[in-house]
C-alpha cells in the first residue's frame, strides 16, 4: 500500500516535467556596439562583454547574431541611438523586446585609471525603459590600507558595469527611479546652480524636450557630447521632462536642412519643431571640462550654461548656469571629492535640474509693481475725466 502511494506521488511530481507545456523563453534584448568616445580602441569590446553578462544576469536573453551587417546596410553612423525605422528592423530581425545602446566616455590607464560608461534601454515602441551613467577612478576602489584597488581599466570596468547595471530592470518590470550616490549627500563648498524658471513651465505635466548639441568652448573635444548625454539621461529621469532621441533629432535636422546647431536662430528651431514633435529646445555651452586624465589636473572641473527655448513663442522658459570642481564635494576626513569629470558632469547636471530658481528680488518686484501702477494711471485718469465730463453735461 505504501509502495503504491509512493509511486503515485513520484508520478504526480514527474508529470508536469513531461506533460505540461514548456515555459516561454525569457524575452531578449539586442545590444548594439557601444559608441567609443574615449579613443581607446579596445574599450567597446571589453565593455560589450561585461554589459551582455550583466543583462543576462538580470533575467534577459541577449539576442544573438552580429548586428554589424544590419547597421552597415542601414548606414547607421552614430551608435548613440537609432531612429524608429532602424529600431523596428533590428527588433524584427532579432525578435528582441528592446535595444540597448551605450557609449564609453573614458577608458584611461596610467597611475589612476578612469573608466566611464553610459547605457540606455529603448523599448520596442521607442520609449525609454532605463538609462544610467557610471564612472570610477582607481582611487575610488581603494579600501582601508590601500587594499582592493583596481589597477587596470579592465579590472575597473567590471566595477563600473556592476554599478551601471545595478538598477537595470528585469523583464516585465519598470526601472526604479534613479538615485544619487553622493558620499556625504552633496557639496560642502561652492555655490549651487543659478537658475531661472518661467512661471509658465509647469512641471506637473511632462514636457518633451529636444537636447541640442552643446557648444564647446573647453579644451576637451568630447566635453559637449558627454555633458549633453548625461544631462539628457538625468532629464529623462526627472519629473516633468521627456527627451527626444538623438537619432530623431538628426533625421529632423536633415529634413529641415539644418546643417549646424551653433548659433541656430529661433526660425530654424521652429522649422525643426515640426519634425521632432516639440517646440522646446535645450541648448547650452561648456566653458570648462577638465578631467584628471589630463596633464597637471588633480581635480575635475566643469563650467556650463544652458537654456530651454520655446521656439513657438521665442521665449526662454528655463536657464541655468553652474560650475563645479571635484574638490567641492570634499567632506570630513577629506573624503567624498569626485574623482573624474563624468561623475562630476552627472552631479552638475542633476544639480542644475534640481535648482528651482530664486524668485525675483524685492527691488525688482517693487520696480514691476510701480511700472504696472504707472501703466494703469493713464487709463484711470481718462476714466476720471470721462466721468467728470459726463457729470458736467448733466443739467
Amino acid at each position: 500500500m505504501f509502495k503504491i502511494l509512493l509511486m503515485t506521488c513520484v508520478a504526480a511530481l514527474a508529470l508536469p516535467a513531461f506533460g505540461a507545456p514548456a515555459e516561454a523563453p525569457s524575452p531578449s534584448l539586442a545590444v548594439l556596439p557601444f559608441d567609443n568616445v574615449s579613443g581607446a580602441g579596445d574599450a567597446p569590446a571589453a565593455i560589450a562583454g561585461l554589459v551582455t553578462a550583466a543583462i543576462a544576469a538580470h533575467g534577459w536573453q541577449v539576442a544573438g547574431g552580429d548586428l554589424h551587417p544590419l547597421l552597415e546596410r542601414e548606414r547607421v553612423r552614430y551608435l548613440d541611438g537609432v531612429d524608429d525605422a532602424v529600431r523596428t528592423r533590428i527588433i524584427d530581425q532579432t525578435g528582441a523586446s528592446g535595444i540597448v545602446t551605450g557609449a564609453v566616455y573614458t577608458w584611461s590607464a596610467g597611475k589612476n585609471p578612469v573608466v566611464a560608461v553610459s547605457a540606455r534601454l529603448v523599448r520596442a515602441d521607442g520609449s525609454l525603459g532605463w538609462a544610467d551613467v557610471a564612472a570610477l577612478a582607481a582611487d575610488d576602489t581603494e579600501r582601508l590600507f590601500g587594499f582592493g584597488r583596481r589597477e587596470t581599466p579592465d579590472a575597473l570596468a567590471a566595477r563600473v558595469i556592476a554599478e551601471l547595471m545595478r538598477d537595470f530592470p528585469p523583464p516585465g518590470r519598470e526601472a526604479p527611479p534613479p538615485h544619487h550616490k553622493s558620499f556625504f549627500g552633496g557639496s560642502l563648498f561652492g555655490s549651487g546652480a543659478q537658475s531661472f524658471r518661467a512661471p509658465e513651465l509647469d512641471l506637473r505635466t511632462p514636457h518633451l524636450v529636444c537636447v541640442l548639441p552643446f557648444a564647446n568652448e573647453s579644451k576637451s573635444p568630447q566635453a559637449a557630447r558627454v555633458f549633453a548625454e548625461v544631462l539628457a539621461i538625468r532629464l529623462a529621469a526627472a519629473e516633468g521632462f521627456e527627451v527626444v532621441e538623438p537619432a530623431h533629432l538628426r533625421a529632423a535636422a536633415l529634413k529641415a536642412h539644418v546643417a549646424s546647431f551653433r548659433g541656430i536662430g529661433t526660425e530654424d528651431l521652429a522649422r525643426l519643431a515640426a519634425s521632432v514633435g516639440t517646440s522646446l529646445f535645450l541648448r547650452g555651452t561648456i566653458y570648462t571640462y577638465d578631467d584628471v586624465t589630463g596633464r597637471g589636473i588633480d581635480t575635475p572641473a566643469i563650467s556650463v550654461e544652458m537654456s530651454l527655448v520655446d521656439a513657438q513663442t521665442g521665449r526662454v522658459l528655463w536657464a541655468a548656469q553652474h560650475e563645479r570642481k571635484g574638490s567641492d564635494y570634499t567632506g570630513l576626513l577629506l573624503l567624498g571629492a569626485l574623482s573624474n569629470a563624468v561623475t562630476l558632469a552627472d552631479h552638475t547636471a542633476t544639480e542644475m535640474i534640481e535648482a528651482q530658481g530664486a524668485g525675483a528680488p524685492r527691488a525688482a518686484q517693487a520696480f514691476t509693481a510701480a511700472r504696472e501702477a504707472r501703466k494703469r494711471n493713464p487709463a484711470e485718469k481718462r476714466a476720471e475725466r470721462r466721468d467728470a465730463r459726463k457729470s458736467e453735461e448733466k443739467p
Binding site: 543659478q194 531661472f196 541656430i264 529661433t266 566653458y287 548656469q321 501703466k375
Partner: protein
C-alpha cells in the same frame, strides 16, 4: 612704567595692523552710474541683450559674462528678454560684426526688427583670476548700458569693478570666490542700480 607701556603699544600696533589688513587688504569695489534725467524705465518692457565686447585677453570672457547677465536679467522678471538666437540671427542678417560701431539709427532699426523697447550693450574690461597661495582673487570690470530703441540714446549706464579677496579669504583662506561668482556679484550690483 616703561614695562607697562610696552605691551600696550604692542597691542595697539597689532590691533592697527589687523584693522589695516581688514579694511585696506580686502576686496575693492568701484562703481559709476549714469541715468538719463528724462529716462522713463517704466516704458521699457521688452529688451534684447546684444553680444558683449571683449577687451580682455580671455577668449570666452564676453560670452560668459553676457550669459551671466542674461540669467540675472531673467531672474529679475522685470523685462521680457528676447531669446538670444533671435538676436544673433537679426544681427547676422543686418551684417553687424561689432556692436561698438552701432549708432542711434542702427539701434532704432534693430529695435524695430526685434520688436524691443531697449537693448543692453556691454563691455568686459577686466576678467582675470589671480591666485594668492591657495585662494582665488578674481578681478572683474564690466561696463553695461541700456539704449532706448525709440530714440537710439543711452538712458542708463554703469561700470563696476570687483577685485581682490574678501576678509574671510584673506584672514582664514576660506570661501574664495570663483571668477563666475565674482562676475555674478558685479552684474547683480549693476542691475540693482537700474531698479533704484
Amino acid at each position: 612704567m616703561r614695562c607697562n607701556a610696552a605691551p600696550t603699544i604692542r597691542l595697539t600696533i597689532a590691533a592697527a595692523a589687523i584693522v589695516a589688513l581688514t579694511f585696506f587688504g580686502c576686496r575693492t569695489t568701484r562703481q559709476t552710474k549714469y541715468l538719463h534725467p528724462n529716462a522713463d524705465l517704466g516704458a521699457i518692457s521688452k529688451v534684447a541683450i546684444l553680444p558683449f565686447d571683449n577687451l580682455t585677453g580671455e577668449r570666452t570672457a564676453a560670452d560668459k559674462v553676457q550669459k551671466v547677465f542674461y540669467l540675472e536679467l531673467l531672474t529679475l522678471q522685470v523685462f521680457e528678454v528676447t531669446e538670444p538666437g533671435q538676436v544673433t540671427k537679426t544681427l547676422r542678417s543686418s551684417g553687424v560684426a561689432a556692436t561698438d560701431a552701432l549708432g542711434p539709427a542702427d539701434f532704432q532699426r534693430i529695435g524695430k526688427e526685434l520688436g524691443v523697447d531697449g537693448v543692453f550693450l556691454g563691455s568686459v574690461v577686466d576678467y582675470s583670476d589671480a591666485h594668492t597661495g591657495s585662494t582665488s582673487t578674481p578681478e572683474v570690470t564690466i561696463d553695461v548700458r541700456l539704449i532706448e530703441t525709440q530714440t537710439g540714446s543711452t538712458i542708463w549706464s554703469t561700470s563696476h569693478t570687483r577685485a581682490g579677496a574678501g576678509v574671510s579669504t584673506r584672514l582664514f583662506g576660506l570661501g574664495g570666490e570663483s571668477l563666475t561668482e565674482a562676475t555674478r556679484g558685479v552684474v547683480r550690483r549693476e542691475l540693482a542700480t537700474l531698479l533704484k
